[in-house]
Symmetry: C2
Subunit: 353 residues, 2 copies
């Protein structure tokens, strides 16, 4: 504690990211990163941009990338906001659409950055318990005071809420913003983007970190009405004119353009998810029906914390959340087929499955 800290620092409760380890022998199934590299066209586009022009400021409006994303979803450029990772987009959204003193709602088991933002910006929260099957009950989110935010699919549960449910939440919050945080949507049924035409209180947030394998480049985006996007732009232009560097812009454009590569790798992850789920179930695990690139699993006879430790000792890193409601679950990121075979090799040996 320092006498120079503002109240914002004093009340803050910073987010702690998943463990970082430098041992190249470790199989990292703990941060929901994509096991496949970015598209070769992305690497090519970035390399082309590495030169003289780095001395010049990038575009403050990032129009090339906005247009590419707009085309992808049949929207206009004015419906798209780009941020330095979806965490930055979320932070700007909290500033732009939530108000200190007005309580927002989100699921109690959810992305653990939401309470961090709320602390920073002094926004009261109502953490709504999930149902017993870990699903979100739409009516719990009706008539919020300050707005609603939830991931879809949810993390770390991996569960998807269908569009009918989302529509219910939107209809019962017409004067408040509902943010649907779609970090994992490309591994799921359908985005809520189609609802933008009908609901002006909807903001959809996505990232290029997961399905487009660009966690290291920092690109996220929001989709919404021109008024909402203008709100985000006003916050961003009051904060940092140039949030997206030249290399990220070039890489992002190429990543959206290469639809074939994106689809191939996404389907590969989904196929791996499918056999890994089966194999876990064969060994007595309960696996929540995942629509993400990770699995949220528990075993009736095994202690999750211990399993996490045992796997770690064997150079396999998964994620364990020390939170009462999910204390007997671990979250396993879907790796390559080879990595998942090694995972089972270790698991079998550990537990005599």
């Amino acid at each position: 504690m320092s006498k120079f800290w503002s109240n914002a620092v004093k009340r803050s409760n910073p987010y702690i990211p998943g463990e970082q380890v430098n041992n190249p022998e470790i199989i990292k199934l703990n941060r929901n990163e994509n096991p496949y590299p970015p598209s070769p066209l992305v690497l090519k586009a970035i390399k082309k941009e590495v030169g003289q022009s780095l001395r010049l400021y990038p575009s403050p409006t990032v129009d090339t990338l906005r247009e590419e994303i707009a085309n992808l979803y049949d929207l206009g450029k004015e419906n798209v906001f780009i941020g330095n990772g979806s965490d930055e987009v979320l932070a700007f959204s909290f500033m732009a659409f939530f108000e200190p003193g007005q309580a927002i709602r989100y699921p109690d088991i959810s992305y653990s950055f939401y309470p961090v933002y709320a602390k920073l910006f002094d926004i009261p929260v109502e953490e709504i318990p999930l149902q017993d099957d870990f699903s979100i009950k739409p009516s719990d989110y009706y008539d919020s005071e300050g707005g609603v935010i939830f991931p879809n699919p949810n993390a770390p549960t991996s569960l998807y809420l269908n569009l009918a449910g989302i529509e219910e939440i939107l209809r019962h919050n017409q004067d408040r913003i509902v943010i649907v945080d779609e970090a994992y949507i490309d591994f799921a049924e359908e985005s809520a983007v189609g609802l933008l035409k009908k609901y002006d209180n909807l903001l959809v947030i996505q990232t290029m970190s997961k399905s487009r394998a660009l966690a290291g480049l920092r690109l996220g985006f929001a989709l919404g009405s021109p008024e909402l996007i203008e709100g985000l732009v006003r916050i961003k232009d009051s904060f940092n004119s140039y949030t997206i560097d030249r290399l990220a812009i070039a890489g992002g454009v190429a990543a959206i353009k290469d639809k074939a590569y994106f689809t191939e790798k996404k389907e590969k992850v989904i196929a791996t998810r499918s056999w890994v789920t089966e194999e876990l179930e064969k060994r007595g695990f309960t696996v929540l029906p995942s629509q993400t690139n990770f699995l949220f699993v528990t075993h009736p006879e095994k202690d999750a914390a211990r399993l996490y430790e045992q796997l770690k000792e064997n150079l396999i890193l998964v994620r364990y959340f020390n939170k009462p409601e999910i204390a007997n679950f671990i979250r396993i990121t879907i790796g390559t087929d080879e990595e998942m075979k090694t995972f089972f090799h270790v698991l079998n040996r550990l537990e005599n499955f």
Copy 2:
């Protein structure tokens, strides 16, 4: 205006960056970019990083770059904070060290982003007039209510305040943070970094955009006591865990390492500044004694706004500020010798100098 906007959006008054033009024929002397490319070692280091690893999150603590910068200034890693451009560092600093309701002081002619941050974060301001010669008078900043911030050298005036003056301001604000924004310091006499040992209320902010020719990569940093750096880290980790992408980290480390290239190009800019100053003075301009990579100039017989327009019609872009106190000044970024020769070629023809 949208009913969904927060009060922060409503009260915001976003920053407007210098004009962006895509015409490659235009000589851009309007954004204080470095006329020379980044070090070849920077480009090499970035290219090496363009690959597989982009699928992985970058380091949230950016230790490699922090250590490199710490070594440069004979500090520890715990004295260094890295941001996505110095504008982001400034934004986090406003959140970490200034308090809504407590008035901060800065010069009325200064970096025009300060009032933008103040609006966003609801911090009252006392804009202190510069002296008649555009210099900062230290005693004007004594005993501030909420803290002090100023660029040194100042922009757009290009004038440097010596360390004795800065020390006076620090000594008379011992319970408040004084931020010295050293975006242009590498073109000037001496950084205030040396004062960190003596004053725990000092935060120094620098950027790699100007002297290291990396405006397109977005890297800035703050130097201060471990407590102040911890305050910034807490804000950042409540906002966005991974603000610096993998390519920027690689490029930043290489940029700090290549001291020879840095010194060579910096000295080249200073040499060009010297002859350009002389040539302007020969033509009757008053040129403030610059310690930056730009000149702030006025002419007793010429209208600055008109000169700006005429230069623009001739494909030379400089910066004009439509502000009463400096309405007869233009700001000219130092380009290459060749660019500055073209500038004079155009100027001579325009005004029959």
